[in-house]
């Protein structure tokens, strides 16, 4: 009996388009559908999904299911769970592929329980065995310290794929027929009242940036003259972020200082934290300064391909196979020189500053 695969996506809360990661997951769904000879259904959630559906008209599906309306404009557990459950039941899917967005990460494990199925998150690849078609998912355990390949007996199996792991599907937009599902009344005790973001010139987290710049606690410690230079460090780092268009990360020891009443970089929060107890961002390149590169921090660099570091200690963690290049030097001096070189380039290039996510 052929399998049913459901590609589930939501439109971004900013408008009626699908987030980039959705096209990557659609690419994986289309590939698996062909490989397994399965049937592909597409499910969409959002206030208005018509424009998004047209962009994926050529994906080779016979059914596009949707739950739409003002109740689904924002991410709320009760409404999103009801919508996803209705789509999954209508599609009668064995395998449900969805992007690992914050909206779906919040809700799809609970939906798996309602469907008497199972869910796996943070999956980095999903392959079908060439001989027997058995599905195998790869994901990390212990915060990127152990990589596993798993399979599941239970169906439906909801798999949330991490962004950046598959090539995005591309195809010509076209007209589509959407089957709109209606839902029974669900609880609306929670109201989403808005999005809180830093001022645009203070936004330091840029998921689409090519470079991750990580600052360590050394920026706030006493320097060679026996004094701290926190304001100077702030200016150097912010100037660099503007000039290089990079995203900012921090080590735990640095972001924790704000809660311990020590000298702090004012723009550094727990949202910037990278590592064992922080995030694991995906950027092609990473540059670390004043950070020792110990294992709990470096596990957050698992998906950063090219790595360079600047540190005064030639025996720091970066030197032990964790970076491609370690420069043993004063980070203040290096960054001041680097800013002087990058700033003219940034001023002449309109693309130096990336769009915020």
């Amino acid at each position: 009996m052929s399998q049913n695969i459901l590609f589930l996506a939501h439109v971004s809360e900013a408008g009626n388009a699908l987030p980039k990661a959705s096209y990557e997951v659609l690419g994986a769904a289309v590939k698996l559908t062909k490989q397994l000879g399965a049937n592909l259904t597409i499910g969409l959630i959002g206030e208005d999904v018509a424009a998004a559906a047209e962009t994926i008209a050529a994906a080779g599906t016979e059914r596009i299911l949707a739950v739409s309306g003002p109740d689904f404009a924002t991410a709320r557990y009760a409404s999103d769970a009801a919508a996803a459950e209705a789509i999954c039941r209508s599609a009668a899917a064995d395998l449900i592929l969805a992007p690992a967005s914050s909206r779906f990460m919040r809700v799809l494990p609970g939906v798996a329980h309602r469907l008497n199925g199972c869910a796996d998150t943070h999956v980095t690849s999903l392959e079908a065995d060439a001989v027997n078609g058995e599905l195998r998912a790869a994901r990390w355990y212990y915060r990127q310290r152990i990589e596993t390949v798993i399979r599941r007996d239970a169906r439906p199996w909801i798999v949330l794929l991490e962004p950046g792991c598959e090539a995005a599907w591309t195809g010509m937009p076209g007209p589509v027929k959407i089957e709109k599902l209606s839902l029974p009344k669900f609880a609306t005790r929670t109201t989403v009242t808005g999005i809180r973001a830093p001022q645009s010139d203070a936004q330091t987290i840029r998921p689409d940036a090519d470079l991750l710049f990580v600052a360590g606690a050394g920026w706030t410690k006493k320097q060679s003259d026996g004094k701290t230079h926190v304001p100077e460090a702030e200016k150097l780092i912010l100037d660099f972020l503007r000039a290089a268009g990079s995203s900012l990360g921090g080590s735990k020891s640095l972001v924790d200082q704000s809660g311990e009443s020590q000298a702090v970089l004012r723009f550094m929060t727990h949202l910037n934290q990278v590592g064992q107890t922080g995030s694991t961002p995906r950027h092609p390149k990473g540059l670390s300064m004043c950070c020792h590169g110990e294992e709990p921090h470096v596990v957050g660099w698992r998906f950063i391909n090219e790595r360079r570091a600047v540190n005064l200690d030639p025996n720091c963690g970066w030197a032990r196979g964790k970076a491609d290049v370690l420069y043993v030097a004063d980070a203040f001096e290096v960054l001041a020189n680097l800013n002087a070189r990058l700033t003219p380039v940034a001023q002449s290039s309109p693309e130096a500053m990336p769009q915020e996510a």
Partner: protein, 273 residues
Amino acid sequence: MTNGYHIVVCGSVVPDPLQTLEPVSTPTGPALKNEMMLPAVLDPWAAHALYEAANLASKVAGSKVWLVSVGPKAKLQQVMMTIAQRVSFELVPVDASASGFADSHSTAALLAEAIQSIPGLDRARLLVFGGWESASRGAGATMQLVGERLGILDQFQGVDQLRVLDDAQPDGSFEVLERIEGGRHQVSVCAGPPALLGWATGNLPEPRNNPQIGMANMRTVMPALQKAKSLPLPAGGLHFLSASPPKQQRQTRVVKDLSPAQIAQEIAEWIGK
């Protein structure tokens, strides 16, 4: 909130982040080499949830905090010696595996059952807290599964802040900040308990050890640990085909003899490639 919240925090033990972890094969699936010998800590996100729970309980009179923890009894006892000195809570232990390789669906079933067995727990005042992920399984799924089993439809993940809107109101409504993409927060208002919150880091510093709190907690922690039920954790149809540490080891070029200007030039060229 006139009667206070009943706050149940779900949290277990994980290996100390500074330890080297090596997977080994066992008849029941992968495990960590010398797992019982590794020093353990309370999972960092669960710890944030516990500190936030204690902070909320201290602000809203009549509130009470429970810590429901699934883990080997000996490990729980070791970790409680430290955690119990920081904030007041009543421990509800379940003696079962705390392995990251355990299935989140099975763990959620144990947690939900333990919560339902707490005597005197008032669902109309119930807030279930936990980490939005763990440093072991890192699934970001277990709390949602617990919530579904308890029939809680107001769920929040990646929470950094909970603010009670008006202490005098009997409904206990509150505002929640959840992390979303791009370093932003989604702001929601919930009409009150029951609700489930998976915490990110929050904004509170780690509380200092207080021996008096420790003495008071240990009066209930030790008897609870002695009475803890030992339960199996079924695999739940999850099969591990392989488990291995990453093999990537870089040949680091250590540059000691360049001036800051030369280093800056080299980095600028690398960024521009």
